[in-house]
């Protein structure tokens, strides 16, 4: 029989059978154990398969990446901090790092800001669902697809020629020269970030809009009766109550900005000073065959994301405590 068929049957039948068998086994083994010990041991044994999976697919690769980042390109000899030194001294990677900072600030500020603005404004109109659907739509488009769409928007033809790019067509219509939007640093990085903003604003809006609906109307009514202006209501009531949701959304955006890859890869391929570290990591590994350097970049990326995660988890715990 075809080995692939055997494997498929093994997965479909074998895996559930194995798990059920495992649970039955530990229950049998636990039976002779005293009652009060059973309660302590059982959760760990039930958790063990999940922990093993996490360990194998998440923790082990993380540690292996850290080890690799201290090794040479053949992943054999240890080279100390060489890969990190390369990362911090190479002009290309420093440009990437700078661009990621720009991505982080602009993408987070614009996507969350616009999302919040739209969520609040749209909350009061009758055609809210329609408006929200339109803004949310780009999220359904893949990043590669969005990159290609926006490459057409930023398309360039020499002055005097018909402009096929939407933006240059608009610019020339009001009498300016066409611009090579994707080639002129530093505005080209902003042009790329706008694509990500276009995609992610809808996501921020939906989450914030849902949180907004959770704020009780009585609270706002009471403030208005007491004579608060709309701006005061927003600043004094809406914003503080939305803060947890904003924090969640902002964290997601920060991580998205640090992981930015597809848009840059498709639209400029990292040329013209638009490279980002995820793209750099990909290139070091798959083009340059430098697993050590790629791992060092991955570790830097991880280190940058960890504080954001810690803040996020802490907030989450505080909220849980309040409840």
């Amino acid at each position: 029989m075809d080995t692939r068929l055997v494997a498929a049957i093994l997965i479909v039948v074998g895996l559930p059978a194995f798990l059920i068998g495992y649970i039955l086994l530990i229950e049998t083994l636990l039976r002779p154990v005293p009652e009060r010990w059973q309660g302590r041991i059982r959760p760990w044994l039930w958790l063990a398969p999940a922990l093993a999976f996490l360990g194998f697919f998440l923790v082990y690769p993380t540690f292996n990446t850290i080890v690799l980042s201290f090794q040479d390109r053949f992943s054999k000899a240890f080279v100390g901090l060489n890969n990190y030194a390369y990362f911090l001294s190479n002009a290309d990677t420093l440009v990437s790092l700078r661009n990621n900072v720009i991505w982080l600030v602009l993408l987070t500020a614009l996507a969350v800001g616009l999302g919040l603005l739209i969520a609040v404004l749209v909350d009061r109109v009758r055609y809210e669902p329609a408006a929200k659907s339109v803004i949310f739509l780009p999220l359904a488009i893949s990043f590669v697809g969005a990159g290609i769409i926006w490459r057409f928007v930023y398309d360039y033809a020499p002055p005097g020629q018909p402009q096929t790019g939407l933006l240059n067509a608009a610019v020339t219509a009001v009498g300016f020269q066409p611009q090579t939007w994707l080639q002129d640093a530093p505005t080209n990085t902003i042009a790329l970030i706008l694509v990500a903003v276009w995609i992610w604003t809808g996501f921020c809006m939906v989450i914030l809009s849902a949180a907004l609906k959770g704020i009780s109307v009585e609270l706002m009514e009471a403030a208005r009766v007491d004579g608060a202006t709309e701006l005061q209501v927003f600043r004094g009531i809406t914003l503080p109550l939305l803060l947890p949701a904003i924090a969640v959304v902002a964290t997601t955006m920060v991580i998205t900005a640090l992981k930015a890859f597809d848009i840059v890869y498709v639209m400029t391929s990292g040329n013209f000073d638009t490279n980002v570290i995820a793209n750099q990591m990909y290139k070091e590994l798959f083009t340059n065959n430098q697993p050590g350097r790629a791992s060092a970049i991955a570790v830097v990326l991880l280190v940058l994301i960890v504080p954001v995660m810690i803040i996020n988890i802490r907030r989450f715990r505080e909220q849980e405590a309040i409840r």
């Binding site: 093994l10 194995f18 994707l182 990292g270 083009t287 340059n288």
Partner: protein, 481 residues
């Protein structure tokens, strides 16, 4: 490598494009790709399945190696009956990169030999030939004959003692008298012919619109610049001598790398070119800088300038040759670009022609850059010897040429399906020095940096010194074994 892949794909387009009514073949190629992807997906699925199920029962069949099939038939080849003409019987195992339409052409090419000798050709077409051959050399499981990835690998395999010399196999007098000298010398190691070219292709052809450019073949590169400029001035407006398109996704810049390689080869000769390819010639050296500057002059006289070159997809390079009014006079590309002339430029057959890249330095006259299918012999069975001798003959090579999509380095082959190919073949046959794409034979990191350098140089020519210095630093780090 990305660039190499792109060019490879173009090559395929070229093949299908030239054959009249080649739609069927094109579909076949696509089919082959998708089945391969499917196969790979399935392998992944199996691998994932084994992992997830935690099942450790070894399934060796999942390992995707083709090496055993490659070597298996060499045993079948050895007990061949009588040698020297007549009925040989037995079989020859052959591995090549050709699939789809190209594979059919190769099989058509060996058919008369099979009929005559009664021996069978067992052909395997794979894109992964480099891997198969280098693992084969370590394990000893090698095909009788194989297409070699390039001259560099041929040297390597010959040094390892795996490749057998062809000096007493091929009719040397006929071969060297009729084949382009540059291709003979490229296949020769230590005075022994080791690789023969089944077919080849050349780069660096200056294409023009026959309705626009009528000044004839230029006598020198300067003459080409002068005649181009003159024509562009006659057109007036924004017209310039050249059109350049560098945009090609992650491999953006490769068309410019072909320009620069062409300059290095013609200005400074094959020795500098080889040293440069091997990482022994710095990018900041006068020879390479000179080539970049020559490309800079091209960009300075390019329609829309460097920024437009960066914004133009390489397939659309020729569009402005055929627009009204035309934007430029010349486009420098290999023969595959004619397909794009017709598809995106709206040109008709007969509306375009080319002139070969004129010599730039009399010392290196007849230097041509191109690519080709180099063939070598790993097992000298009577069948393999007989097949190599046959493949080197003009009779064999004219079979593929007649089917379209190939140039032969043999001047006795003349049955080209159209005038463009006939002219390209004439340029190939006249090649005194022949070199493969330098970038394709550099380490990937080097090639990638080369492409990126082309893009930033086209965008801002004033940065040349820092661009070359950066390439030097990539060179020091990427060539270390």
């Amino acid at each position: 490598m990305t660039g190499g892949a792109t060019e490879e794909t173009n090559h395929q387009q070229e093949v299908t494009g030239r054959i009249p009514g080649a739609l069927g073949e094109e579909i076949k190629i696509v089919d082959q790709r998708s089945t391969r992807t499917l196969g790979r997906a399935a392998t992944l699925f199996v691998a994932a399945g084994l992992l997830v199920a935690g099942c450790s029962s070894g399934t060796p069949s999942a390992a995707p190696t083709t090496a055993p099939t490659a070597g298996g038939s060499s045993a079948a080849g050895s007990p061949g009956a009588s040698t020297g003409g007549g009925q040989l019987g037995g079989s020859v195992s052959v591995i090549g990169t050709w699939t789809g339409a190209e594979q059919e052409s190769f099989l058509a090419m060996v058919k008369p030999w099979e009929d005559q000798t009664g021996a069978k050709v067992e052909y395997t077409g794979t894109r992964d030939i480099n891997n198969i051959l280098s693992t084969g050399i370590r394990s000893g499981l090698l095909p009788d004959l194989a297409g070699l990835p390039g001259p560099g690998q041929m040297q390597e395999y010959a040094k390892a003692g795996a490749l057998k010399p062809l000096t007493d196999v091929v009719d040397m007098t006929a071969y060297s008298a009729n084949t382009a000298p540059g291709l003979v010398s490229l296949g020769t190691i230590d005075n022994a012919l080791t690789g023969i070219f089944i077919k080849a292709d050349i780069k660096g052809l200056f294409w023009y619109n026959t309705d626009v450019y009528k000044a004839g073949d230029p006598t020198s590169y300067d003459d080409l610049l002068a005649k181009g400029k003159q024509t562009a001035d006659t057109i007036g407006g924004d017209a310039k001598t050249f059109c350049v398109g560098l945009e090609s996704g992650a491999a953006s810049g490769w068309p410019g790398s072909d320009w620069i390689e062409g300059f290095v080869l013609r200005q400074s000769g094959p020795d500098v070119y080889d040293k440069w390819t091997a990482g022994q010639q710095t990018w900041t050296s006068p020879e390479i800088k000179q080539a970049f500057e020559a490309f800079g002059n091209v960009i300075a006289d390019t329609y829309g300038g460097g920024k437009n070159a960066n914004a133009t997809a390489f397939v659309a390079t020729g569009d402005k040759l055929f627009s009204n009014p035309p934007g430029c006079v010349f486009v420098n590309h290999a023969t595959f670009i004619t397909d794009a002339f017709k598809k995106t430029g709206g040109a008709k057959d007969g509306q375009f022609d080319f002139t070969p890249w004129p010599d730039m330095n009399p010392t290196f006259a007849g230097a041509v850059e191109g690519g080709g299918d180099l063939f070598g012999m790993f097992n000298d069975t009577p069948q393999a010897k007989s097949l190599v001798a046959y493949l080197a003959t003009p009779e064999a090579q004219s079979i593929w040429v007649g089917r379209g999509g190939a140039l032969s380095a043999n001047k006795l082959v003349t049955n080209y399906p159209n005038d463009i190919l006939k002219k390209a073949a004439a340029a190939l046959v006249g090649a005194k020095v022949f070199r493969f794409d330098a970038g394709d034979n550099m380490p990937q990191a080097m090639q990638d940096a080369f492409f990126k350098a082309v893009v930033s140089y086209a965008q801002d020519a004033t940065k040349l010194d820092s661009i070359l210095a950066n390439l030097d630093s990539v060179q020091t780090s990427s060539y270390t074994p």
